[in-house]
Every structure is written in C-alpha cells, then in structure tokens.
Symmetry: C3
Subunit: 315 residues, 3 copies
C-alpha cells in the first residue's frame, strides 16, 4: 500500500481488521518500525479525534509527529493550473506538496468538502493534488468525499461487537442544524459493501447519497422498518446530495430515540462523533449500555496505527 486515500487501497480488508484488533492488545509492539521517521499531519479543518488518535498511533509506532494547521499557520494555497496568482493565495499546491513531502516520510491531510460546488468537492482537489505532487505516501484524515480511517475504525468496532456471523447493520440519517459533508457516510457505505453484513441505508427522501456509491446497497425510506431486527444502528447526518449541500429537514422526526431502538435486535448504537445530543440522538440512547460510541472512537487509534504500520513496512 502506498497511499491510504480510500478503503479500496486496502487489499485485504478482513485481515486488516483482525490485525488492528491484535495491535490494540500490544500497541507498542512495533515502536522500532517508525524510528527516525516523521509524519506531518496537515489540518485544513478542525479536528479532535483524528488529531489526537493519529498522533497517538504514530507515536505508538515510534514516529516523530509534526502537526500543522494549514489555514492559520501556513499560506493560502492555489489549486488551479495556470492561475495568475495576484490575489490572496501565496503558494501553489505544486510547490507546497513537493516541499512538505521532503520534510517527512508520510503526510496526512484533512480537507473537508466546502458543499457549495459538487464537481469541485468530488474532484478532491486538496487530497488528489497532494497525491499527485507529494513524493511520500498520503493518508486521508477526511477529505471532501471520504473518511476511510473512520470507516476502518467502524469495521473494527463491528467486528469486536457482533454476536452473530452476519449482523444486520443500518446506516440511518438523523437531523442536524448545519449542512454536513457526505464523507463519513460514503466511506461507511463502501466499507459495509465489502463486509459480510446485511446492510440497509435509511434516510428521508431527498437525502439520497451519491447513487454511484450506494448502487449496490439497499435503501429503505421507512426508518422504523429499517430498524427491525438490526444488530447495529450507525447514525450520521449529511446534507442533501441532489440539492447539493442543502439542509432540507431539521425537525426531530428522524432523531434516534429509545422507542426506535426497541424495534431492533437489541442493537448497538454507533456514531463517529462529535454528536449533537437530543438533536441526532436522545441522551437515553447514547448513554445506554448499548451505545458503543466511546469504544468506536478508541478504535480510531488502531485504525490509524494499522494503516501507518502497513505504509511504514512498505517504505
């Protein structure tokens, strides 16, 4: 594996999940592997879990970490080829990516969707230009359309918590006051399509994800019906894809409640966090013993660590 920009960069997903679970039991086992190696974490957007867990993962592997908030600490980047740079952007991605990758052995990048231009977001301008120009492996710490470190942590969490071989996993949309990107939902859908699970997506009409991504998955517009017999309820808000970046619905009808959870097969509750309590999910559900959101967040460390380990082994 060179880059980790999508879950499709992993050639043996089941094996990777197992390896991550092993790593969790002996996190410092490979601390010689990253000795003398440096990872740069570049943040174009805010981060809590990704910022801390990826640093922790790198340190567990003996790597040096350099963290940079690109917007506030560096220069504004130009991404257009041939641009006449006479306005507020001081540096072109071509130079930035080539230069940064000379100072580290792996570069990890967070750059969210802007949600105002579908074509530009889908072009993954920041991530893809880093992949194009960097001379070192690039890791996606959530890009415009994918969050594969999160999806791998999710797969680890399901593997650890499933009690039947082929659990029913439901991805449910839930309300949120602000327009959120599709990255987490996209990568989770892609991940579930490759797992041995019974997978259902449920959301209000108008909230269809990119049909190219969901085309092999079942969509059920009736949330309560979707929840029946579910073993895992994975909740996430996203803005409309069709009416790109719009918030069409904010009432609490789709909020996850204890009554809805009763329709399931004693399902575990999952969310990538941060989560807005009593908007996305009631306190009762997230504070219940079936909520595994904290463990899911903990697995972010081992998701990042197994990826960095594979990249380091391949350097």
């Amino acid at each position: 594996m060179k880059h980790y920009s999508s879950i499709y960069n992993l050639n043996n997903l089941q094996k990777t999940v197992k390896e991550a679970i092993e790593l969790k039991g002996k996190p410092l086992e490979y601390e010689a592997l990253g000795k003398g190696k440096t990872i740069c974490l570049l943040f174009f957007n805010n981060s809590l879990r990704t910022r801390l867990s990826t640093q922790k993962a790198a340190q567990n592997l003996g790597m040096q970490t350099i963290v940079m908030n690109f917007g506030s600490e560096g220069w504004q980047l130009e991404f257009e080829d041939g641009a006449v740079m006479n306005e507020h952007k001081s540096e072109h991605i071509k130079e930035a990516a080539k230069v940064i990758s000379q100072y580290c052995d792996i570069v990890a990048i967070r750059a969210f969707a802007l949600l105002n231009n579908k074509e530009k977001d889908e072009a993954e301008i920041v991530l893809n230009n880093f992949k194009k120009y960097a001379s070192v492996p690039v890791v996606n710490m959530e890009s415009a359309i994918g969050h594969p470190l999160q999806a791998l942590a999710d797969a680890i969490t399901i593997e650890e918590n499933k009690i039947i071989n082929k659990p029913k996993v439901v991805l449910s949309w839930a309300p949120h006051p602000k327009a959120l990107p599709h990255a987490v939902a996209n990568s989770f859908v892609e991940m579930m399509q490759l797992q041995d699970v019974d997978f259902v997506i449920t959301h209000p009409e108008g909230y269809e994800l990119n049909p190219e991504i969901t085309k092999n998955s079942m969509i059920e517009y009736n949330q309560e019906k979707a929840f029946e017999n579910a073993d895992f309820i994975y909740v996430k808000n996203w803005s409309s894809y069709k009416e790109y970046g719009q918030v069409l619905k904010t009432d609490s009808e789709w909020m996850i409640t204890a009554n809805k959870m009763k329709l399931t097969n004693n399902a575990k509750f999952m969310h990538c966090l941060p989560v807005r309590r009593n908007v996305v999910v009631t306190d009762e559900v997230i504070d219940s013993k079936n909520s595994i959101v904290i463990e899911q967040a903990n697995n972010r460390t081992y998701s990042a660590q197994i990826i960095l380990k594979k990249i380091l082994e391949n350097l």
Copy 2:
C-alpha cells in the same frame, strides 16, 4: 494521587517541595518512567509558561506530549446535562472527555474563569466534567478558581529562598487595567495556609477574596503596614469577588514601588507572570536583585514534573 486539581490532592506538601528541589538537580533521572506514555495538554485559554514548562516537564520524564488549543482546533463544547444541542456547540463534554482520555495516559487542562457568573465559575464546569468523565488522571493547568501548579512552584521558590525558618509572606493585591481571575491568589492562599510561614493578605476594601478560602488567614487593609518586616512580597491582581468580576480601582496607589519594598525585611519580590510593568510593579523593583520572578517561573517545570512523576508512579 490520581488527579491534581487542587493543592489538597497532595498528601505531604513539605515532602513534595523537597522532592521537586531534588528533581531540579537531576531533571532527566526519571526519563524511563514516562516511556510509552502520553500527556494531552488541552488549552481553552492562552498560555506561555504553563504551555512550555508542562511540555518540558513531561519530556524530562520521557513522555510523549500532544498539545491542543481546544477553542480554535477542536469543537465547541456543551456542558449542560440534557441540552438540546441545536445551536453552535458541536460536542458534549461527556463524549469529549471520555474520548480524549482514551488517547492519552494523563490529560491536563487550562480553562479560565469567565468572570460573568460566580456560581458557574465556582462549579469548575470544565475541570470537574473532565474529572467526572475522563478515564485517566486530570491535571489542572489553571482552572476557574485554582492554579495549583503555580502554587506548588511558589512554595518551591519560597523554600529555596527563605533565610529564616518561618518567614513572613505577604500576598498583596496590585492594580491592573483588566478584570483578572482569582485562581492564582486562591491557590497561593491555600498553599501558604499549609506552610510554616507568617502569612498576611493585603488589598483595598472591596477586593476581599472568597471568605471561605481566606477565613483562616489574616487580612490587613493597610498595604504599608502589611509590608513591615516581610520576607516575601507576592504580588497579584484580581478582580472583585463580591462585585464579581468588576474592576473597582485602577489608580497606582497600590502599585509595588521601591519605597514600599524598603518597609520590608529586604523582602524577595514574587509574581507569577505575566506582569504589567509600571502598573503592577515599577521597573526598579522587578529589575532589582531581590526580584525572583524568573527563578519562580523556572520552578514551574519542576512543579509540573514532580506532579507528573507522582501520577505516573501511581498509574
């Protein structure tokens, strides 16, 4: 010791002061102790000394450090139980504290008083919620009402500089143009009450600190009288506690001057820094040979290091 949220978490203060002074002579002696361990420093407010000295202390102990400016790099936190989170706060402290503490072995927090609501400040919402929900030890890097790492550094500095067994220590208020919290003064009072010193607090009327904290200490409203025979003059501004967060007085009458220092027993001048020259204290006093503010700041490293050492030994 699990948490270090107040000086009362230390069960043998005199011994701790001595141990810190020993550590100062051999700061790298225990660098194996923190190997493979990580501390997260979370800043909800600005910091210079605390930011640098706590990192240095952790590194002296062989720990990895992860620093995060919570406000600008993470998500805005909700602290109310049962809140419907449909406005600008993206994450509840319950998740944040539980999640962060999975990525580190110790978490240290700076969160100042807001000075607009006494009850809320005294509830120590940030610190106490971290203590409540985190699964790892929590260190107070200045909270709404206390700054115990500073108070320990102060005790170390007095121990190193005293020339009689029971010195007279005066905590004097001094003017400042902005409303400042009570945290440093509170912890210093608590610390002095446990030391073998002759302790006096002096301030203008209306600037009484929380009477619950000062009830066993002598208050002298006449600054010049308080200074007589003092061995240490510890200076700090704070806003009014009664008229909570108000600045009642900004004239230079209470500024520390060379003439006032002449009333003392050749006293050492102390201040936690940052200090506003020629407002809180004249250049002449802070630049004099009796000023030990730089050494006092240096002791912040060993104050933090002895605390982290005790926590690490107890993990």
Copy 3:
C-alpha cells in the same frame, strides 16, 4: 557559535556548506547529540518551510521540539523600556525571553518586518531583545532584516548545482502584489558577497536595497543585460527600501519568463518560496528542468541541522 542571527555568525562558511552537504547524506548520524535537549520554535508570523524543516532538523539531531505561535497562543509583548503597560500588552520581552529560555536549550524565532517604520524594523526589536535577555542560544528563523537559514540553504544549493568553479549568480527582483520584507534578499546578498561567485543584483530603479548591505555588490538596472551568461537566477520580490515598505511597480515587465532565461548560460532557477506563479515567474520557467526550487527548499532541513549541530556542540 552561540547565536545564529546572521550569516556573519559563521566563521567558516565554505566548511559549513560542505558539512551540511555531508549531513544530508547521513541525517540521523548525530541523533545522540541532541538527546535530552529541547528547542522552542516561536512564531510571531506564519511559516511553512521554516516550521517543518527546523522541526525535522531538530528531530534528526534527537532533540525535543516545542512549537508556539506567539501571537495566538501566548500574550502580546511589550518591547519598550520603561513602558507603563496599561493597555493591551500583557508581558514585557524582558520576562518572556528570560523565562522561555529556562524551558529550552535553544530558542528559534520568526518575527517579520512590519514595513511601516524603517528604524524600528532595522532595530530588530524582537530578535535582539531575545538575544539580549535569553540565557540560551537564539536562532533567527527570519527576522525583520535577515533570513540566514535561508541564505545558508541557498549557498548549499548553489554548491551542489554549480558546474563551473566561479558561477555567475544574479539576484533579480520580480513583481508581487503585496509589500514584502527585504530579509531574504539581504541575507542572500551578504552570503553571495562571501562566496566565490560573480554576483549581480538587478531591479528597477527605486527598488535599491539598503546600500550598506549592497555597497560591495554590482547593481545592473537592465534585467536582460544582467541575465547574460548567468548560471543561477535567484528571484525575489521586495518592497521599496527608500520609500520604505511601498509597492512602486506591479506590472509584469520584470516577471521571469522563458525568453529571459534564454539569455542566460542555461541558468538554474532559484526562489525561496512561497512563489506566486505567473506573477513572479511563469509556469514554464518554474516547471522547467532548470528549476531547482524544490531541492532548494529541501536544503532548508540541512541548513537548520548544521546550525543546530554547531550550537549543540558548543553548549
């Protein structure tokens, strides 16, 4: 060497360049040298290359690194002697410099020219006050009037790329929409004056650099004539020195183009970056095989590393 504030702190420049090139071949050779030592990188201004390459250099030498954005994370500093600090500045440089240098073994500082007061900029208030009050070596990561780490990286790059013993090196001004400091150009001029090169400066009239710095160098106002037979074209914008901080000219007449490069002796193209494409230089030139800007940026690591190595050896 104690401080590295200007290239004149190096007593054997040719030897230092050779040592840096050797270090580049074995960057981890001296990682025991910095063990248990800490460098604080203090940024009063934004940075990309300097931020990352100096951290990388320090880590290659086994040092701990602490990075701080002074403006946003610390307190605003007062620099005037005798100031009555009753406005927005919370801390005096005297305390800040003395205190910070107690927490580290080397302190590195970036503080740009403000370009609104020539005398103040030339007084190098931030850098010189750190040198005056700090108790540890101070490294200049670009000050108001110099950028000696850049100049050393430039000398390394020329040494590696020259194909004749005494190459012709041209420093050419180029247009830019914003007022930029003179620091990079100043240090490059000083460096070239000490190298065995045929050195020419070219710029429009009115853009003369400080004549004290350029007095021993040739100035040619005709850019095309200057380019004739050049082996290296080093490009940089700066604002007017005479009409201090003013932008007198923004048209593209002085932009570096392929046609101008044809006048040279197949010259290498150099720029310290960030560079505005198609304003300072055309895509065609910077993307050509003769452009060595990426390699030049890479040498920032070894420029910083040889300086830190010399300072560490002298501690």
